[in-house]
């Protein structure tokens, strides 16, 4: 239990992998969910991008972005409070959370422009 609590601290290198793991999970969820939805109940192509499916994908993306951005901010604050190893760890984690958040933004952009299931 002690080690679990330790890992949750923002200066633990465990956070090196959490951000991008979340990115991967988001990616697989959106790609997989999209594929299954298109297979099961594809919205008509005339609807363009204004479909329930696109909206759902967008919502998941926005929530993920918010979570990652918040973590990036917290890590950034943690980095300022420490020195040496802890500062290094928190700063790297902050960068990785930020990159993951922007990665979600960037990869999710086509949801706005491209109709699903074509």
């Amino acid at each position: 239990m002690v080690s679990m609590m330790e890992r949750l601290r923002l200066t633990h290198p465990f956070h090196f992998v959490i951000g991008l793991t979340l990115w991967c999970i988001w990616f697989v969820a959106v790609y997989g969910g999209h594929a299954v939805a298109c297979e099961a109940a594809a919205p008509a192509s005339e609807q363009g991008v204004f479909t329930l499916l696109s909206g759902g994908l967008l919502l998941v993306s926005v929530l993920t972005i918010a979570l990652l951005a918040a973590l990036a901010l917290w890590c950034c604050q943690a980095a300022k409070q420490h020195q040496g190893r802890r500062r290094f760890n928190a700063a790297i984690s902050a960068g990785l959370y930020l990159f993951s958040a922007l990665g979600v933004v960037f990869v999710a952009l086509p949801i706005i422009g491209v109709p699903p299931c074509l």
Partner: protein, 353 residues
């Protein structure tokens, strides 16, 4: 249309021996031929004849210019870094310089580039999608190692042919492609991108030809020993010629053509004995393992692009097809006498509506 070689055995032998006689002369010829061909081979992506291909070519030239600049700048900066120089900087100055390099070159440069690229690229991809008004539909099915081409919407009934695809000029055509055995690749480079022909699935791609012309096409996915010999002859015709072309290939016309000459009954019997279980000729046989031969005389090539169709070509093909196209699925005809093969070849060449 450019000159195409005819691949008879004779010319093969000649080419090999001349190579031995004077390699340098040959290289010189190839150099000249190569450069004059430039970027206008009939499979060249850089010589587009349709909107989709033109978009891609434009994107390519833009990307090439941009990439060349990036590559040159990065290389010059690296080489310049090796120049000895006497500068003393404080640690803070060094950190500042490093940060500028890393953020400028490592983040701003790639993010700006890929954003610009996606901004151009995604709309270009959108234009290639089979959206909107219904278009002419042509089905292409890849077999080891030939293309079956079907026109399901032809007026008067479906038209089936092989290795020879005719499409109307100036209107979008939807190609519904599939694979009969393994995965093949459907690709007409001068018209646009490629799409895989997968067993059990139908993939759709929309292409449009701007000019009446002949385009080269070739299977793009490794499909076995015949992969290099799996070509598709693509011809775009004005609408009325296209309709006429389809009209001439209705079942009754083709049957009449095949059975017109009563003197050829003996040859038709030979065909029924040796060929009919695999090949269809309307009015004569209905095999469906190999290509439909009902209009073979009118096709530009033989053996899915292995030989140019000319007088005597079919008989040459029947005799030497395993040399011309190693491993193809048609059994060797070594057990048949040459007269029968010649007669079959001559008769098949008459099947030209």
């Amino acid at each position: 249309m450019r000159e195409r070689n005819s691949y008879t055995i004779l010319s093969n032998i000649q080419r090999v021996s001349s190579r031995r006689v004077n390699l340098i002369a040959l290289i010189a010829v190839i150099v000249i031929a190569g450069f004059t061909a430039g970027c206008s081979g009939d499979k060249s992506i850089l010589d587009p004849a349709g909107q989709a291909a033109r978009d891609v070519t434009l994107i390519w030239w833009i990307m090439l210019s941009f990439s060349a600049v990036v590559l040159i700048v990065v290389t010059v900066l690296w080489l310049y870094a090796f120049k000895p120089r006497e500068v003393t900087r404080t640690a803070a100055q060094e950190r500042g310089i490093a940060r500028r390099w890393i953020i400028g070159g490592g983040i701003v440069l790639p993010v700006a580039s890929i954003t610009a690229l996606l901004a151009f690229g995604v709309p270009a991809g959108q234009r290639m999608l089979p959206l909107g008004e219904p278009a002419e539909v042509i089905e292409v099915i890849g077999h080891q190692w030939w293309f079956e081409v079907r026109y399901p919407n032809a007026e008067g009934g479906e038209v089936v042919t092989a290795n020879h695809l005719v499409m109307p000029v100036g209107e979008p055509v939807d190609f519904n492609v599939s694979g009969a055995d393994v995965i093949h690749g459907f690709w007409i480079p001068r018209l646009g991108g490629k799409i895989d022909m997968i067993p059990g699935r139908v993939n759709r791609i929309r292409l449009e030809a701007d000019i009446p012309a002949v385009f080269g096409a070739q299977c793009a996915e490794l499909c076995g020993v015949g992969h290099a010999h799996m070509h598709l002859h693509v011809e775009s015709l004005p609408r009325e010629e296209y309709d006429a072309w389809l009209g001439a290939r209705q079942d009754e016309q083709l049957s009449a053509l095949a059975t017109a000459d009563a003197d050829q009954e003996e040859v038709r019997d030979a065909f029924r004995t040796h060929c009919a279980s695999c090949h269809q000729v309307a009015g004569v046989s209905s095999g469906n393992i190999g290509p439909d031969l009902s209009d073979i005389g009118s096709r530009a090539t033989l053996g899915a692009g292995v030989m140019v169709m000319e007088e005597g070509a079919v008989s040459q093909w029947l005799k030497h097809h395993q040399t011309l196209k190693p491993g193809n699925r048609m059994p060797s005809h070594g057990d048949m006498d040459t007269d029968t093969l010649d007669a079959l070849g001559a008769w098949l060449e008459t099947l030209s509506p």
